[in-house]
């Protein structure tokens, strides 16, 4: 039985329907790549999966049970990375990361930084980081989340080739451990045996109504 199932999901943002009748299934260790043009609802879908917004219709099932039944339990197993990096610019890199460390192992943050090639910046205030370095730090947060299900919204934005390489290795390792993965992107990503979900198929033709 698939770990996460979305059934006939519909999403409204600002009074307008973004997508409708969207269904998908995700097994443990599997990866789902969400694609689609700008504004097709990738981030919205991921926010629904992350529990940030509720679908206007349809249900989200985890192990066969509606997520709403035990929201807290569901939120514990997921880790969400949005468009924003959620960094405190006045804190140093490791301070930023330590705050999000959900593993009981205080050494993990340092390892995560190392994996993403950020070890050298551990003591730098995040304000001094370049765009890509900030994204790397945001990704490091995911590594220390200890969550089996990752929900990543355009994780590769601003990353250089080397970092993108490191990321795909990380993702592979995560899946090898039985972790599952949903990510949205506009770029080509090499995820072996990943399912694709193109939101163009679920778009609703409808001009956005004026929002006051």
């Amino acid at each position: 039985m698939p770990e996460l199932v979305g059934r006939d999901l519909e999403c409204r943002r600002g009074g307008r329907v973004v997508f409708r009748d969207l269904s998908f299934a995700l097994d443990a260790g599997a990866a789902l790549i969400v694609t689609g043009p700008n504004g097709s609802g990738k981030s919205s879908l991921l926010k629904i999966l992350a529990g940030l917004i509720r679908p206007s219709a349809g249900t989200l099932l985890r192990d066969g049970h509606p997520v709403e039944e035990d929201r807290a339990a569901y939120l514990r197993v997921i880790c969400y990375l949005g468009h924003t990096d959620a960094l405190k610019l006045v804190l140093t890199v490791q301070e930023n990361l330590a705050f999000w460390n959900r593993t009981n192992d205080p050494a993990r943050p340092a390892q995560a930084l190392d994996v993403l090639g950020m070890a050298a910046f551990a003591d730098l205030p995040a304000r001094l980081l370049s765009a890509g370095q900030r994204r790397r730090l945001a990704l490091a947060r995911v590594l220390v989340s200890a969550a089996p299900m990752w929900i990543l919204d355009e994780p590769t934005v601003g990353l250089d080739d080397q970092a993108r390489q490191a990321l795909s290795e990380v993702l592979a390792a995560h899946r090898a451990e039985g972790g599952s993965l949903v990510l949205s992107t506009h770029q080509a990503v090499d995820l072996p045996a990943a399912e694709r979900l193109d939101l163009k198929a679920f778009a609703v033709e409808e001009l956005p109504e004026m929002v006051w």
């Binding site: 924003t84 959620a86 610019l89 006045v90 999000w100």
Partner: protein, 221 residues
């Protein structure tokens, strides 16, 4: 329970790390308080009578100034999203953040109040009562301020209502706080007013986290 304390501790650490060194808060407080004599003139006994009101307003102001950006920053940099879906109850996060804020932005004022009251020639004993009143009242200011800050996020598009809802909530605290100090100055018993302050604080301890958390969740839409 340990999770509770751990969470609070981490929130505290972050808030403390972000907040200014206490010296700055105190300095700000002293500056505002030192401003009034220029406005009302230097007569010592008039100033003495104004002292409680002045000190309370200064405290209120520093709470307002420092609390407003607490959630706003998290909202803009995306941290709030993560806190909302984070493992621990949002009410707890709010409470922890507010507590941290009080420790960093309000408690120093309580400590500095005696120094300032020298400028106003307050008697040591009157200053003591003033400190007590502040210690009881400022937490309510922080809590109510947290609600305001949270609601303001949801209403980015300009709900004029928010301040109209929040600021009046300050009035009781302010008035009872001032009156307590007044009574102490006049040699009367400040107890009844202090009791009122305590009651307000208990109420706010219960209401504010719920309201603020709701506001934060609402701001996610």
């Amino acid at each position: 329970m340990t999770a509770f304390l751990g969470q609070v501790g981490r929130e505290l650490r972050l808030a403390l790390r972000q907040s200014a060194d206490l010296a700055m808060v105190v300095l700000f407080f002293a500056l505002v308080a030192a401003l009034f004599p220029f406005a009302v003139g230097p007569e010592p006994n008039l100033l003495m009578r104004l002292a409680p009101g002045v000190i309370w307003v200064s405290a209120l102001l520093s709470v307002l100034l420092s609390l407003e950006r607490l959630f706003l920053a998290d909202y803009e940099d995306g941290t709030l999203e993560l806190l909302v879906i984070g493992p621990q109850p949002l009410e707890l996060v709010v409470l922890a953040k507010t507590l941290a804020h009080w420790l960093t932005a309000a408690l120093p004022l309580v400590a500095a109040a005696p120094v300032v009251s020298v400028l106003y020639n307050l008697s040591a004993e009157a200053a003591g009562w003033l400190m007590l009143a502040l210690a009881l009242g400022t937490p309510s200011l922080s809590l109510v301020g947290a609600v305001g800050a949270a609601l303001a996020l949801g209403a980015r598009r300009g709900g004029v209502l928010i301040p109209i809802i929040v600021l009046p909530l300050y009035v009781p605290t302010l008035i009872f706080g001032v009156m307590a100090s007044e009574a102490a100055l006049a040699g009367l018993s400040a107890k009844p007013y202090l009791l009122f302050l305590g009651a307000i604080l208990l109420l706010m301890l219960f209401v504010a986290p719920l309201a603020a958390a709701a506001g934060l969740r609402h701001s996610m839409e």
